[in-house]
């Protein structure tokens, strides 16, 4: 069977681009879009895939990562999908890519102007764990009422002495909307702030997309006396020695010996030992 360039028909792609324009105009605000079934399951990144399909052109260079790595099964699968239906060039090098589709990480290599990050988002609603009804949360966003989230932070500090959110750390975008940064580690959140790259977020199953335009304020929620302080493995990378990158923890044997290596494989390869 033959498919249109980038799988979706042109009408569908245009509809998604229109929603994206709206999203860029209202940073951090969730925009409904007519998400479709893609040939990969919901939860695998159908939102990200649809966004990439909507914006990709023949001259683009695509990089796909999952857990920071280009060679993880899902990243390979999505890259193969676009190779098959769009035939665009792909790369593993962050600085060579024009579009980077990601699940759970932001590359360590600083992003540049003109690049587009496409995040795969499972739950676009940052408040869903505190208020499951979307009719309610939509009202809370409209009123800018984020007490629920701050109360959660307050109770964390009271119980645990710190904010115990390791990933999907809630952020305020452009001082207006509370946003889920997608389940990236809290460690990656500062990379979103004033990034020169355009950041797009797609949630296929929930039929929502949102965006952070270049050079936009993205500020993690915190208290003045309990500033945002992400946790990260202390050990340097066992392969490249980097002490500034985010690490995967690998269990080596039955005694529970651990090794820490860069989760960003491209960064790890380029980082001088």
């Amino acid at each position: 069977m033959d498919y249109n360039f980038a799988y979706l028909d042109e009408q569908s792609k245009r509809a998604i681009r229109r929603s994206l324009l709206k999203a860029v105009a209202i940073p951090g605000h969730q925009i409904p879009f007519a998400s479709r079934e893609m040939p990969l399951p919901y939860g695998w990144g159908t939102g990200g895939i649809q966004l990439t399909a909507a914006i990709i052109g023949k001259d683009d260079v695509l990089k796909v990562i999952d857990q920071g790595a280009d060679d993880t099964t899902n990243a390979v699968s999505i890259r193969q999908f676009f190779a098959r239906v769009a035939g665009v060039a792909s790369t593993t090098k962050t600085r060579l890519a024009s579009i980077i589709q990601t699940r759970h990480r932001i590359p360590e290599t600083a992003l540049q102007g003109g690049q587009i990050m496409v995040y795969q988002v499972p739950m676009p609603e940052p408040l869903f764990k505190l208020e499951p009804r979307r009719t309610e949360t939509r009202m809370l966003h409209a009123l800018g009422d984020y007490s629920l989230m701050y109360l959660q932070l307050y109770d964390h500090i009271t119980r645990y002495g710190r904010v115990a959110i390791g990933y999907d750390y809630p952020v305020m975008v452009h001082d207006r909307y509370l946003m889920s940064p997608s389940p990236i580690p809290a460690f990656d959140v500062p990379k979103m702030h004033m990034s020169p790259a355009l950041q797009l977020f797609g949630a296929g199953r929930e039929k929502r997309l949102y965006a952070v335009p270049p050079y936009t304020r993205v500020v993690p929620l915190a208290f003045a006396d309990y500033p945002f302080a992400p946790v990260q493995a202390q050990a340097p990378c066992a392969i490249c020695g980097s002490s500034s990158s985010y690490k995967d923890e690998i269990i080596l044997d039955d005694r529970g010996t651990r090794q820490y290596v860069c989760s960003d494989t491209d960064y790890c390869e380029q980082h001088p030992c």
Binding site: S147, L151, D155, A224
Partner: protein, 271 residues
């Protein structure tokens, strides 16, 4: 009927000279049924107005109209906002909500309806200042402790979940959570009626202390004339959606004019 008694009763305003809320000729209907008819009132800072009446007399509906949760089909409500008295009908939903959560306070009969039961007691108390932009944990905590003491709850209960509190304590918690923002306008909807008599007395005592210290304008809805006598300077008696008698509390309770009020007083407050 205009029930303003500003001619006879002169409050001693310190900050704002005029009333904190004015209702003019309010009408309200549910479907085809007229629930409120031509209700007018005003409340000054430092003053407690009790709206009394049997259940079904329309007093809770009136409170909801005055709070902005319901819109009258005729008449208007002006209440104190960020820039003096503002007509409620002109406020956006955002502004209304913001006023409700800062300049005004609402204490409802069942504290469980107002409290966040999954959040600690202290978290419940500091929600308002936090929503108003206070983002300093230690200060918030200090505030929480301060208010817990003010409503006479053991500070050791600071981080307990409300679910572990007694009914009276829950109501105190709701009061602390509401009064922390020092509202200019306070709505009390049957604040003690779910409680045992002994607990009620202590709570009323506490409410009287807190309210008189803060120069708040208070609207108290109650079916209990004893509660009204204890807290209110003025009383408005409602029957079938209308205010049938209003005036100074002692006057209304000791020398009721309207036969219905006479009945009410004689049945509840044996001389």
């Amino acid at each position: 009927m205009l029930t303003s008694s500003s001619q006879t009763h002169t409050p001693t305003p310190t900050t704002a000279p005029g009333p904190a809320i004015i209702a003019q000729s309010l009408h309200f209907r549910f479907g085809s049924q007229m629930v409120l008819r031509d209700v007018s009132l005003e409340v000054f800072p430092g003053e407690v107005l009790a709206i009394v009446g049997e259940s079904g007399s329309g007093k809770s509906t009136l409170l909801n109209l005055l709070y902005g949760n319901l819109q009258p089909c005729q008449g208007s409500v002006h209440a104190i906002g960020n820039a003096g008295l503002q007509p409620l009908a002109s406020l956006s939903q955002q502004t209304l909500r913001q006023l409700q959560r800062s300049r005004w306070g609402y204490v409802c009969q069942n504290p469980r309806d107002a409290l966040r039961m999954a959040i600690s007691a202290s978290g419940n108390i500091i929600e308002r200042p936090m929503a108003m932009g206070l983002r300093h944990y230690a200060t918030l905590r200090q505030e929480a402790r301060h208010w817990l003491e003010k409503v006479e709850i053991d500070p050791a209960r600071l981080d307990d979940l409300p679910g572990t509190f007694s009914g009276g304590m829950l109501q105190r918690l709701q009061i602390a959570r509401t009064l922390i923002s020092q509202p200019a306008l306070l709505y009390l909807d049957e604040p003690t009626s779910g409680l045992d008599v002994s607990v009620q007395a202590a709570l009323l005592d506490l409410l009287r202390k807190l309210v008189s210290n803060e120069q708040m304008a208070v609207l108290l809805v109650t079916h209990d004339l004893a509660v009204a006598r204890l807290l209110a300077q003025r009383i408005a008696v409602m029957r079938r959606g209308e205010i049938i008698e209003a005036g100074l509390a002692d006057q209304v309770l000791d020398d009721p004019r309207h036969p219905y009020t006479q009945l009410l007083v004689s049945s509840v407050l044996p001389a």
